[in-house]
Symmetry: C2
Subunit: 206 residues, 2 copies
DNA sequence: CAAGCTACGTACCGATCGGTAACATTGTCA
DNA sequence: TGACAATGTTACCGATCGGTACGTAGCTTG
């Protein structure tokens, strides 16, 4: 996958040390994931990342060529987690895509009204980095294009008259929940994302 | 309004110079508005702001106590511009709130698919500053609460059966357009925001 | 054992960050 | 003319930024 992360070195197990604690690169990416998601990428310095990971700075730059590349690795990893959750709720061969999508949205609604909710790490990253050639943004754009296509495909399987319109409507609701979920304190508009989607789906498939 | 900005000093016109060029505080806020919106707040240094404004750093700190306060002033100013646009499309006493809201959304759809679209400066700011007591975030949260209430009020006037649900659905679509409009390159999901809203409104008022 | 390699740490770099102190200049008004 | 408000000028501060040169511990293999 990502050539940025050191994979099997010479032969057999290198096993960093006698203990089986994860290798530096993985600890760094774990640390970056938490800090980037919670505070934003620009708000977190590389010193904080390595301190939180229990490693030192050169270890970071041996596995990642720059902070920008680490941010891109963070986005790619976030995408894996996203699809795990999404596909966990909505199987590719779902018998009832509508019910499964609404399951996902119910879950999103619940998460989005928790106090420390921070929305989608990928959307947030794209907002932090408008430069069109930033590696993290490029990874994020590719992910969002996949999600849009996937929602359109689900709309087809739900029998929508205009699948592009329904897919985009669902995409807007989801992105809206990502954003407003981290702006409102108590239960905000994102708490109604599943209900709004239900209305949209019903109207689009009636 | 904002006590951060120097307002009428002694009496009559102070008029900084013989020329009628805007005062330093206003030039700085103009400069910050453009740079913050286009690049994000954390990405822009105060040196760049003052250079772009044609003033010097001490002038900035005479009118704004910190960069964070300047960011808050930027949000408040952005809010004024937002309501000018919104209320320009949707009068408080609109005869046909549905048509006027769809007008606004048509316009939003058009803007959101332009190449350099950067979404809502206030949403972006809230995403950049998750700290709950940051002055710019506080100003942004207050604005979004007002917008939510306004959309709910419009939903009432449209005769929605469940105005909170319709208002929140519209809010999610709008925030979704803000976000995805700056993620997708060509025409993305945000291009369908007005159509999706039309479907939602029709179903909610049928 | 000694070479060689991998994985890591110590210490440091120049640049930039937000912010300030002290003083000079200009225009307005009384 | 003299006080005042507003801005510019210059130089500086400590902190933090992303990034790196270089040394070293420990395992593996001849």
């Amino acid at each position: 996958m990502s050539s940025t992360i050191a994979d099997k070195p010479g032969r057999s197990r290198p096993a960093a040390s006698a203990d089986d604690r994860p290798r530096a690169a993985e600890r760094i990416l774990n640390s970056a994931r938490d800090l980037f998601y919670r505070q934003g990428i620009r708000a977190v310095g590389v010193d904080e990342i390595v301190a939180n990971a229990g490693v030192t700075k050169p270890s970071l730059y041996r596995s990642f060529s720059s902070k920008d590349e680490l941010a891109a690795a963070y986005v790619r990893r976030y995408e894996v987690e996203f699809w795990a959750r999404f596909n966990g709720a909505i199987g590719e061969d779902a018998a009832d895509p509508k019910a499964q999508l609404l399951d996902y949205l119910d879950n999103l609604a619940l998460r989005s009204i928790t106090p420390d909710y921070r929305g989608c790490g990928i959307s947030n990253t794209a907002i932090e980095y408008p430069e069109p050639d930033h590696p993290a943004r490029l990874a994020g754009e590719s992910h969002k294009a996949k999600l849009r296509a996937r929602l359109q495909q689900i709309a087809v399987r739900m029998g929508a008259r205009d699948p592009e319109l329904l897919g985009d409507g669902l995409m807007l609701l989801i992105e809206g929940a990502f954003a407003s979920g981290q702006i409102f304190h108590g239960p905000g508009p994102s708490g109604n994302v599943a209900r709004a989607a239900r209305v949209l789906i019903a109207a689009a498939t009636a």
